[in-house]
């Protein structure tokens, strides 16, 4: 009898870890989808992507602590704000790189990443901060979940759903997909590919910013936090296949679940190695990603 209850407890623990992983992964997926979208459509590998997650987190933090804005509202507000900033950055800076070799963009966004996090460090210092909005846990069929993480999960899923609907059914979404499949033919068909690239870059940044605002609900934020998100995002993009949005969603969930399982059953330090190891293994054995397009 004792053994059976023990096993049930273990099972409960396992399911809890699994669900926690999915919640974590949904946020990672947002970051990864932004990166894969920009990479696939604009052809720019944005190493500074994680820095926009950090900026999104600070956006939510400052609007909470200075303007007493509800963090849920700042998640919604972050999307247009970061979208607009993204299109401006693209028109001013990255658009010049569409003809340049891929590696120039790599080094340029690397510089952008260094610039952004160091400015953040300069203006906001290295203090660890958090948004104390929704704290505490709630029971659910004998399992326990953090309120903030559950809320984040649903926020991330809604944004993902909105993105899918936009890309699938809206006119602009179709234009973006056409640009991604064949820029020349899209141009011949009367699609303003330059505009599509700017819009896509903005969307990628908006996804990162929204993910950052969501992140601020559940974890501490600090200027260098972008690095860990961008390394996860790269693993996710490679897992899902370059430019594959559904793949990135699945990749994000996989990375989240793996991280949660390893943290629970092995060690938190080993969980940090997962993105690098996954990335290397996928690149070596299945460079096109786990899923066929």
């Amino acid at each position: 009898m004792g053994k059976v209850t023990l096993r049930l407890e273990n099972m409960g623990n396992f399911i809890e870890t699994l669900i926690r992983g999915l919640m974590l992964g949904s946020v990672y997926a947002l970051v990864g989808m932004g990166l894969t979208l920009v990479w696939g459509v604009v052809g720019i590998v944005n190493i500074a992507h994680g820095e926009f997650v950090m900026l999104g987190a600070y956006f939510a933090f400052w609007s909470f602590s200075l303007l007493h804005l509800n963090p849920l509202l700042s998640v919604v507000l972050a999307i247009p704000v970061f979208f607009f900033s993204g299109t401006v950055i693209h028109k001013r800076v990255t658009e010049r790189l569409t003809k340049a070799p891929e590696l120039s963009a790599l080094i340029l966004t690397f510089g952008m990443s260094i610039l952004i996090w160091n400015l953040a460090q300069f203006f906001w210092t290295n203090t660890y901060r958090s948004v104390p909005y929704l704290t505490g846990n709630f029971p659910f069929f004998g399992l326990v979940f953090a309120k903030s993480k559950t809320l984040s999960f649903f926020l991330a899923l809604s944004i993902t759903a909105a993105l899918f609907v936009f890309l699938k059914y809206s006119k602009m979404g179709k234009g973006i997909r056409a640009t991604s499949q064949n820029p020349e033919v899209a141009l011949v068909c009367g699609i303003n590919t330059m505009k599509m690239r700017a819009v896509t870059f903005g969307m990628g940044i908006a996804l990162a910013g929204a993910a950052g605002a969501i992140v601020s609900l559940q974890w501490v934020i600090f200027p260098q936090m972008g690095a860990s998100y961008v390394s996860k995002a790269f693993a996710i993009v490679v897992l899902g296949g370059l430019g594959n949005i559904q793949g990135a969603l699945a990749g994000g969930l996989i990375i989240g679940v793996l991280e949660s399982l390893v943290t629970q059953y092995w060690s938190a330090k080993m969980a940090q190695i997962i993105p690098s190891v996954t990335l290397l293994l996928i690149l070596l054995f299945r460079p096109t990603g786990l899923f066929k397009r």
């Binding site: 590998v45 800076v93 010049r96 790189l97 340049a100 070799p101 891929e102 590696l103 120039s104 790599l106 080094i107 340029l108 690397f110 510089g111 952008m112 990443s113 260094i114 610039l115 952004i116 160091n118 400015l119 460090q121 300069f122 390394s231 790269f234 693993a235 490679v238 060690s267 330090k269 080993m270 940090q272 190695i273 993105p275 690098s276 190891v277 990335l279 290397l280 690149l283 070596l284 460079p287």
Partner: protein
């Protein structure tokens, strides 16, 4: 003749210069080797190596541990550290150099990050001392250190010069311009890439071993820091990618800029660095030497 005079001047420096200037020169020379080593592989083949810190860190760790835990003399620890990273690089090169373009760059970042995390875990702690780091004293005078790194920098530039004016160098450049075409012309591209990769690993690894002997300390976040990858790339871009003296010029200028910025604007220093990187790519992608060639100050072609 000019080179000989410059060498005599550089060799004689420890006899009259202050420690401050020798230290500054040591930094310039170490970064000259890093930048030239990066340029030797990435500048010629076009495969951007974002894992230079991995070469530096692994070799730095190997030699530091030999000196700290096994009481080796630095003269033997340095080359063993560099040989160690070269041998690992053969394996890594065989595996990773199949990956092209951006993916190669990212996989090198992943390799560096993964190794950094791994060296800090409890599993490798008996060997690497984990996150605590390895403090050690090698018992080498500043002047000796300076002469060693001067010799290394001289040899590195000589090797780069010989390679760029050799058939092997042309093969590497052919890979950069069009790898498929190079292959069709009968170049064994994989072998050429691996040789350049391992040579780059050996030279930067040797400089890394000296670097951490000079710092008397290494730990995971310090040995694999992104700065060790970034700074040499910026220096090379500034001096001129794919040129022989570009990295040395970039290293010299940037170490001085670093000295001034660091003293005046410690907190904004890295941000300015990032900004410079962006501006370089946008407005000055050819570097100092490329610009001088364009303006006709330097001849555009060179005899091979």
């Amino acid at each position: 003749m000019g080179v000989a005079l410059l060498m005599i001047f550089l060799i004689s420096i420890p006899f009259y210069a202050t420690d401050y200037w020798i230290t500054l020169l040591v930094q310039i020379l170490i970064f000259t080797v890093y930048a030239s080593g990066w340029n030797l592989f990435s500048g010629l083949t076009g495969y951007t190596n974002f894992g230079l810190a991995w070469f530096i860190g692994v070799s730095g760790y190997a030699s530091s541990l030999l000196i700290a835990d096994y009481q080796w003399h630095w003269l033997f620890a340095w080359p063993i550290g560099a040989l160690f990273i070269s041998i690992i690089s053969i394996g890594v090169g065989v595996i990773l150099l199949r990956i092209k373009g951006v993916y190669f760059a990212i996989s090198m970042v992943a390799l560096t990050e993964g190794t950094r995390e791994l060296f800090g875990t409890e599993y490798l702690e008996p060997l690497t001392h984990g996150g605590k780091g390895v403090p050690f004293v090698a018992g080498i005078s500043l002047a000796t250190l300076y002469w060693s790194v001067l010799l290394l920098a001289f040899l590195t530039i000589l090797i780069c010069y010989k390679i760029t004016s050799s058939k092997f160098g042309l093969r590497l450049i052919a890979i950069r311009e069009d790898e498929q075409a190079a292959e069709t012309l009968g170049i064994h591209t994989t072998r050429a890439k691996i040789i350049a990769f391992v040579l780059s690993a050996f030279l930067t690894g040797l400089a890394g071993a000296i670097h951490f002997t000079y710092q008397n300390y290494i730990d995971p976040s310090f040995g694999f820091t992104i700065h060790l990858t970034l700074t040499p790339i910026v220096m090379t871009l500034f001096g001129g990618v794919g040129t022989v003296f570009g990295p040395a010029i970039g290293a010299t200028l940037f170490t001085f800029i670093h000295e001034i910025l660091w003293a005046e604007l410690t907190l904004l220093y890295m941000a300015i660095f990032g900004g410079i990187l962006i501006l370089l790519i946008l407005f000055f992608p050819q570097g100092v030497l490329g610009w001088m060639k364009e303006k006709g100050i330097l001849p555009k072609i060179r005899k091979i």
